[in-house]
Amino acid sequence: MSAEESPAERVAIGISFGNSYSSIAFTSSEGKAEVIANEDGDRQIPSILSYVEGEELHAGQAKSQLVRNAKNTVAYFRDFLGKDFKSIDPTPCHQAAHPIQHESTVAFKIQDSAEETENTVTVSQITTRHLKRLRISASDYLGKNVNAAVITVPTNFNDEQKDALKQSAKEAGLEVLQFISEPIAAVLAYDARPEAKLTDKLVIVADLGGTRSDIALVASRGGIYTLLATHHDFDVNGFQLDQALMDHFAKEFIKKHKSGGDPRENDRSLAKLKLECEAVKKALSIGTSASFSVESLSNGVDFVATINRSRYEILASKIFSAFARLLVQTVEKVNLDVLDISEIILAGGNSNSPKVSSAVANLFPQSTVILAPSTSATAINPSELPVRGAAIQASLIQEFELEDIEQSTHPAVTVTPHTKDPVGILLISGDENSGVFNVIVDGETPLPAGGDVLLKLVEANRHIKITKTEPKAREPSSDSDSEESDEEEEEVREKEYKVSSVLSEAALRGLKKGAKIEVQINIGHDLTVNAIFREVGAKTGVRGVLQGPKVTQNGSA
């Protein structure tokens, strides 16, 4: 399997490999990404392996072994790959096989064969076995031998982690065509839909996962993505949502059954409680109430209860708002304002919860589009976003030589200058301050770039200036004191542009009334601006060239 497949024989899929869940997807001949269910019918495939008398159980079947066979069940291992033991956080594994130090890497001591001996299995080997099962599921579904994949990784995955994952994939019979980052895959999943329109926008991808939350701020300019900021949080996560439910039901149980004891104090009871609470959480994303029922939860006492969604939202409200605050913090990290954000993509299984999107919506202006199942009818299932993006990317590069992919992804990428501020034209009727600014090429646009606008002219004879501006968030204080004293003051904030420097002026003479003007500007690599102003239908126009500044670029190689 080590020989590289020639592109002609390649069957590539997209894989999203998470700590809690993994998924697999392929792109159909019509160019639509489809998520593949494994043989249990799961599209969200738990990243868990378990061994019972030498038999390997995977995914959902392995997950139920967390109750009876926790010691031989390996879970939440993705973030351990390519790391040394000291740098990992083993907390998620408390209820499964514990990670141990093994040479320079992390391993697990499990009984993975029929014999009664414990073997040391490294995290790389576990990953290989997991990926192999995923590969087999995809191959069975497609009826073809899958041998290549595009795998999504978090933005903070370093090269060692990628190399370790690549090696594990290779041993599982998968050639990794490319690693793409999870948030970018999510943006691609949305942009690749036929109805999607490519616009210049700032997008936040907020992934609320099981063991971690990842926020990424992405500038999308004409379908090219630039990562502006990322934030990773390991304290605000889906497990906390489970925990809120676990505490709630545990307390109810203690109240009702004095003899039962606290189910959180016994490992097996705790495992049962956790599994059921995750199921309850999922049910509450879809329905407004859910029932909790565990046979012999603790001390042989069964427990049945129900909970409605609003109760759950109160229990977990702190976590939801903590998550929403992470988004704002990420925006502020790069000195942007919530007003600059045009779209928020909610990803990760926990984003299925309607409260996540409403908590986020509270902190962002109404103009911000929130893409989540509860706020948008066309939203894609948040759990499937990265894997869909990976499947689309896999289909795009499937036919390329590996060498081509490597060359394209390296030097071509890094050396791309981006504009600092938006460039556009100012429509003025007297002095500059009363002008209306129209963006043509937005800030943070990779160069070379071009853009044109069509303007409808109302009066003949007009004056156009290309100006360069900076967006400013204005915060005028509210005019009246708020009636209720401790209510937070509603402040009115809006985005406005301030002209920072005029680049050039141009004049068009003798225009007809109501004429339309077309303005086209192209900005080259060296910051040379080419501008053309033309009345629609006219043969001639004004054109001009602005040379780039002579100073060297920031941080050029």
Partner: protein, 53 residues
Amino acid sequence: PVLPEGWAGEKDFKPIGHLSPSTDRNIEPVGPHFLAHARRKRHKRTFSEDDRI
């Protein structure tokens, strides 16, 4: 909008300023538009040359 009286420029175009320096950033090697960008860059083509092919 009106043209102020006495406004003049060579061929009606008057360059005044420069763009402020750009920042080098990584673009993500993902998606069809990136692949087109990479193709242009590797063959040192411009947009219009690329369109012709």
